[in-house]
Point group: C2
Chain length 339, copies 2
């Protein structure tokens, strides 16, 4: 029996959080690998807040074409190669599509090495996007030093949970901001954060004033909006803000809650925005460190895995629901046999 | 006849722009120089937007005490010294009071050297606060390079007008944003800016899109608010924003128009806030360069001088009126005989 293909088709940019009309799940023709491309049988799909930005318009990525499969980071096995250096059977990771099969250019496609004792999904859930972003944000952008106070929002997410653990290893006092008591308990009990603040139930600005009487030295910003302002109001002299994401406003069609710069001005603070794509030369060091720390039991990696491509959209929505139960990296297992 | 003293008394922090009830002009007892202090006969008072922030609460300065003379940067002549190293007849500059006489500590007080052919007020109008802030903002914080595109808001003000001229000397394309056709004409016709945008009458974001098709490399931020967002939306990849002031919100009692960080995130931009007080070690180089450029006719220095201490508040208010006629540095000549 010939293989069949299914895909989430990107109908149009979503309005607010109305994803149900923006993405439709359909049977879809099997893609063909053009010259220089490979045909990949997708094993895992990574779900990331940045995907929401890609839907809205051009970013560091071009606009996603409408009427074609939605884009996402995938791990898969090459079933046919029309590109030199890649062969059927290779396990690869890169930007593909929300579908059973993707035909992709090999530019930007990486062969995934043997993962040792780690599950395959850790190749993108721990090492590449989330781990690389967390490492670059803490080390290069945040320039965190031992003894400093470090705050991260979106702390129970894939990037935030790793950023906080990295900051802890580097000798900081670490405070995570997340959206439910369960997530906060996970941060402090399981991941070793010093404190956690539930922004749905607590006054973030007031809590930080108590927890950080000398101010926040480094803030790893994943959400923006009111939470971002609450932390900005508590920055230490010469504090640094590493802006990695702004999930609070990804679904907003109204003007976002902007950042009040005044407290940053009074303290001579620096805010530096970054995208991992601009720091790919740092991935080698990041991956080596993460592997070392993971191997020594100093970093915990947790992925919430949704089984079945048909559940991709439902899982994706939980990225923007503060009280959603998922923690750490969110993935879809497309091929039931993937480890 | 014994000398008499008058002063602007700081009654309470102003609500919005109601300065008339916040500051009262009164006869006031002659201050006395305590041990370690000097008594200064004030010649000039510098009026700066930052004074508005000082009124609101503690900043890098303590809260201004109520029921006592308002604080401001002054140039004056010592009439009595109770401090080593300072003598009657010395001309000094530092934080004093809006009054005929100030008793001040010599900590932070500078002796003003011979000004050559320049008027005395250039000691604070060109060299120290405005010139130092402009130089540090362009060179250290903005890290401007030849061939880049430089935008400055509050461009007809003391800091902005110097920042734009420094950027021009360093080889940038320079665009100033100001609040009247007269100010814009001054920038392009007299100061050599490449372009000027009247934010009261033009769409700043749209004009920048046309003037800077490749984006703004360095933005020198003096105002914040809607103007700041319009420039932020036009930043180039890896652009830098040097935040020196936020005059648009100094008088605001409502929540300020915050900065939309999204365009900065997409372009990996850095925003660095700074206060000259933290860069006093850079004043030597700044002053030497400014003197060299001024001497070579490459920088123009313009001060609008209000005559008479009684007019200090009226002049101060014009700092926050977009269409006000003043350009460059705003000063009050307290002693009619001052050059």
């Amino acid at each position: 029996m010939a293989a069949t293909n299914r895909a989430w088709i990107f109908e149009h940019p979503p309005v607010g959080d109305d994803f149900d009309s923006a993405l439709k799940f359909r049977d879809w023709p099997m893609p063909e690998a053009a010259d220089g491309q490979v045909l990949v049988k997708n094993l895992y799909l990574s779900l990331d807040p940045a995907n929401r930005r890609w839907m809205a318009g051009p970013t560091y990525m071009p606009q996603i074409p409408t009427g074609a499969p939605m884009w996402g980071f995938v791990i898969g096995e090459i079933v046919k190669s029309n590109a030199p250096g890649f062969a059927a059977g290779d396990i690869v990771g890169g930007v593909g599509t929300w579908s059973d099969y993707s035909a992709v250019s090999t530019q930007g496609l990486d062969k995934i090495p043997d993962m040792g004792g780690l599950p395959l999904h850790a190749a993108v859930g721990l090492f590449r996007g989330p781990g690389g972003t967390a490492y670059v944000g803490v080390v290069d952008i945040g320039q965190l030093k031992a003894g400093q106070t470090f705050v991260v929002s979106g702390a129970a997410g894939s990037v935030g949970s790793l950023a906080g653990q990295i900051a802890k290893i580097l000798g900081a006092t670490v405070i995570g901001i997340a959206g439910s008591p369960e997530k906060c308990a996970w941060l402090t009990h399981d991941l070793g954060f010093d404190h956690a603040i539930d922004y749905q139930r607590e006054d973030v600005e007031a809590r930080l004033r108590v927890l950080c009487p000398n101010g926040v030295d480094v803030y790893f910003e994943n959400v923006g909006g009111a939470v971002g302002n609450a932390v900005a109001a508590n920055m230490a002299k010469f504090g640094r803000i590493a802006v990695c994401g702004l999930t609070a406003q990804y679904n907003a069609d109204r003007a976002p809650v902007g950042l009040d710069i005044m407290p940053l001005l009074l303290n001579g603070c620096t805010m530096q925005c970054f995208i991992l794509y601009d720091y790919l030369d740092r991935l080698g060091e990041a991956t080596a460190k993460l592997a070392e720390w993971y191997g020594a039991g100093r970093i915990k990696y947790h992925a919430d895995i949704a089984d079945g491509l048909e559940h991709a959209l439902g899982a994706f929505k939980t990225l923007f629901q503060p009280g959603a139960a998922h923690k750490g990296k969110l993935m879809v297992r497309i091929d039931p046999s993937a480890n």
